[in-house]
């Protein structure tokens, strides 16, 4: 058992760190720190910078612009990306849609969509959940009917991130209502300006509105936009989740926000001394720090394919539970550090430097943490709710 990175991997890390230091535009880093709405323009710009270096999608097959990096190197890459406050968005296209496309889509479909996804020219959203199909996703009711050489889509999706800014979307729809629910689903790519699509923003309690409802009203989609085989949609969705085993831990996000909590505590004074030096507060940080280290090694164990005595899916569910609770804990530390200043509402896109009072009593670090804390109340809901994850563990680890 050797728990060190190789010298080559450490050198690789240095290379990435160096790149990030010199290539992350300061205004993009500032936005990332404050956690404003990822602007499509910033996504395109950053994605362009990464793609120019050949790093636009490290996890993709090299043929399509990916790298040949090991799982550990991809991990190091993301560690450094997050450390430099580089943005990490465009998730739906690059990380969810693309793997399915490469595994099950046609060559023509890959050629059509992958390059533009890589450079950031296309921004994709994901249409899975429905008002009646949250945890019970298989119960989804949106349909696609084959009419000539088109699919006609009817139904409604919900919680579709960034749908209003996306020019493409991949949807899970029912193409066969006569078979078992999981067997009748298909994966279809849809251009978001197709007639019949209505996107309606949902206003969240965090002030965000980049989640949306997407209404599909007789939306005509060319038949060649169905990915893989009809009826295999559920299989593809499961495949998609399996490709991103450790993503649900949100390790890099958690570490970044923990560091920011320490930073806030360093800059918040109590009787002239930094809150970070207050013993009670320091202990709160330390307690979370301990679990964050554990989370880090949980991720490494999966990436390095540690031999597991338990069903891997149970282990991944455990990781999701730890990771999502950690998202809440680190964002809570941030607002605890702010104390009374945590109660103020800032608009998500409120410019910071334009208000004089922000400089005076409301430094840069006061903007964002509260909205983020509110948003992360959803961390134990999205991506498979905590209760569902616990069911998976009960079933797969114990056979209950």
């Amino acid at each position: 058992m050797d728990l060190r990175f190789t010298a080559a991997d450490e050198a690789f890390r240095e290379e990435v760190r160096d790149f990030m230091r010199t290539h992350v535009p300061p205004e993009i880093a500032a936005d990332t720190k404050r956690w404003v709405n990822p602007r499509p323009a910033y996504f395109r710009r950053w994605q362009g910078i990464l793609a120019a270096r050949g790093w636009g999608a490290p996890h993709w097959p090299a043929k399509w612009g990916g790298t040949d990096w090991s799982a550990l190197r991809k991990h190091l890459f993301f560690e450094e990306l997050y450390r430099a406050y580089a943005p990490d968005f465009g998730w739906q296209g690059l990380h969810m849609m693309a793997p399915v496309l490469f595994a099950f889509g046609s060559e023509e479909q890959c050629r059509r969509w992958a390059p533009r996804m890589l450079t950031g020219e296309d921004f994709w959203c994901q249409g899975f959940s429905e008002p009646g199909a949250g945890s019970d996703l298989a119960n989804l009711k949106s349909t696609a009917e084959c009419v000539g050489d088109e699919w006609v889509l009817r139904g409604q999706k919900i919680w579709t991130s960034d749908a209003a800014d996306s020019n493409w979307g991949f949807f899970l729809v029912r193409t066969d209502a006569t078979v078992k629910p999981q067997r009748g689903l298909s994966f279809i790519a849809v251009k978001m300006d197709t007639p019949g699509i209505t996107v309606r923003p949902i206003h969240g309690i965090d002030g965000r509105h980049d989640l949306n409802e997407v209404f599909l009203d007789e939306v005509r989609v060319p038949a060649d936009q169905l990915i893989g085989e009809p009826g295999k949609g559920w299989t593809y969705a499961k495949y998609l989740l399996e490709k991103e085993r450790t993503a649900s831990a949100f390790l890099y996000f958690n570490r970044r926000r923990f560091e920011m909590a320490k930073d806030i505590a360093r800059q918040t004074l109590v009787h002239g001394r930094p809150l970070l030096e207050d013993r009670a507060f320091a202990r709160k940080l330390a307690r979370v720090d301990a679990d964050l280290h554990a989370l880090n090694w949980s991720v490494l164990r999966i990436l390095a394919e540690e031999p597991q005595k338990y069903d891997l899916n149970a282990v991944v569910s455990a990781l999701k539970i730890s990771g999502s609770e950690m998202q809440q804990r680190v964002t809570e530390l941030q607002i605890d550090a702010l104390g009374p200043r945590a109660v103020r509402h800032f608009e998500r896109d409120q410019p910071h430097t334009e208000e004089a009072d922000l400089r005076r009593h409301w430094q840069e670090f006061t903007v964002g943490p509260t909205n983020l804390y509110l948003f992360e109340r959803a961390s134990t809901i999205y991506g498979g709710a905590r209760e569902v994850q616990k069911n998976i563990i009960a079933k797969l680890a114990f056979g209950f």
Partner: protein, 373 residues
């Protein structure tokens, strides 16, 4: 030992619940939250008419002379309905500060105005780089002839936009201790920068630049101010705990109703034992919290250290209960709990604001531990 409510207390509680149920729907609250004061004048007038603003003001000052228990009953109803209007800060906290200040003129003129609804007063005691501390303020009052000149900065003055006057804590130059001044919101040299809070209420930062006030503006001298502030804040905290209790019960009711109706996997969520247990856990928290509130009631007139410890115990219990109950409320609603459209998220935010304003948990734990010496 008798926990039954008197007829008057019963009427107060039921009256408040019924009035708010009928007149304070969610949509109205939403509209009020969009105004610059987050205070609806017609609603305020109605509150005044029902005697809610006069509840704990002494009878000699045109009040009803009721105690903290009555105030708690009212505020539980206000919290349950997620009411925005600044009843607690004006009619409980600031009214108490004026009452106990020993300032006869303020008692005779300002208290009745608060009780009648004509005057709203907000407390300005938090300062930048002070976290929650409010002793030894850096805002300074220089003597100037008969009066004073005030300079300094206050932040997160809750309910400032709706206030006509402020009670400002300040050090008096050359003296130790904390004095309290009553200042007009329109005083020359006083600049307000208002902003919304996450739960629809509002606050402001105040900048005082050579704000001239007369001798009569001094509510409490530096030798008395800290004790008066401490006592009034403890009463305010009790009332805020009651508010939080009401909000938590609303969360529980909303959530129970949601999971009764919401179906996934072919059955209502309420049939899943794991979720039933979440509801039960919230129930336990709320039972404990009500008990902690009684503990605070029982010691509200005790000597300061004892009172501090009892109030802090209630605050500590309420802080944790709020996070558990509020958090479970959103969790059991699933995605819709995260939307502006549904009420549970709004209660979560109210609980968060309330918790962040009554001082951090470590401060309160220290007050409890102080009695161990």
């Amino acid at each position: 030992m008798d926990f039954t409510l008197t007829d008057e207390q019963q009427m107060l509680r039921e009256g408040a619940e019924r009035y708010l149920q009928e007149n304070y729907p969610f949509e109205r609250r939403r509209a009020t939250a969009a105004t610059v004061t987050s205070c609806d004048d017609a609603m305020w007038a109605a509150f005044a008419e029902m005697g809610w603003l006069a509840l704990t003001v002494p009878e000699e000052a045109a009040g009803l002379g009721a105690g903290v228990m009555e105030a708690a009953l009212l505020h539980e109803a206000l919290g349950r309905r997620n009411v925005l209007e600044p009843v607690a800060t004006s009619a409980v906290l600031c009214a108490r500060l004026i009452e106990r200040s020993g300032h006869a003129a303020a008692r005779e003129t300002v208290l009745p105005a608060i009780a009648g609804g004509e005057a709203r007063v907000a407390l300005a005691c938090l300062e930048p780089d002070r976290y929650y501390a409010h002793d030894a303020p850096s805002t300074v009052a220089r003597r100037d002839g008969d009066g004073y000149v005030l300079s300094g900065a206050k932040i997160v003055v809750v309910d400032a936009p709706a206030a006509h006057r402020f009670i400002v804590s300040a050090s008096v130059a050359g003296e130790s201790g904390c004095a309290l001044f009553l200042v007009d919101a329109t005083a020359a040299g006083l600049e307000q920068r208002a902003y919304p809070l996450i739960d629809g209420r509002r606050a402001a930062d105040l900048d005082l630049r050579d704000v001239r006030v007369g001798a009569s503006a001094l509510l409490c001298g530096p030798a008395e101010g800290a004790a008066v502030l401490d006592e009034a804040l403890d009463r305010f905290r009790i009332v805020q705990v009651a508010d939080a209790l009401g909000a938590m019960e609303a969360v529980i009711d909303l959530t129970a109703e949601h999971i009764r109706n919401r179906k996934q996997f072919g059955q209502p969520l309420a049939t899943f034992q794991a979720l039933q247990h979440r509801m039960s856990e919230s129930f336990v928290k709320v039972q404990e919290l009500r008990s902690a509130l009684y503990h605070a009631f029982a010691h509200v007139d005790a000597p300061p250290a004892e009172r501090n410890a009892a109030v802090s115990a209630a605050v500590v219990v309420a802080s944790e209960a709020g996070r558990v109950v509020g958090g479970q409320g959103i969790q059991l609603h699933g995605g819709v709990g995260m939307t502006e459209e549904y009420q549970v998220g709004h209660y979560f935010k109210r609980l968060l604001v309330t918790e962040k304003l009554w001082g951090d948990v470590d401060f309160h734990l220290d007050r409890i531990a102080f009695t161990y010496r």
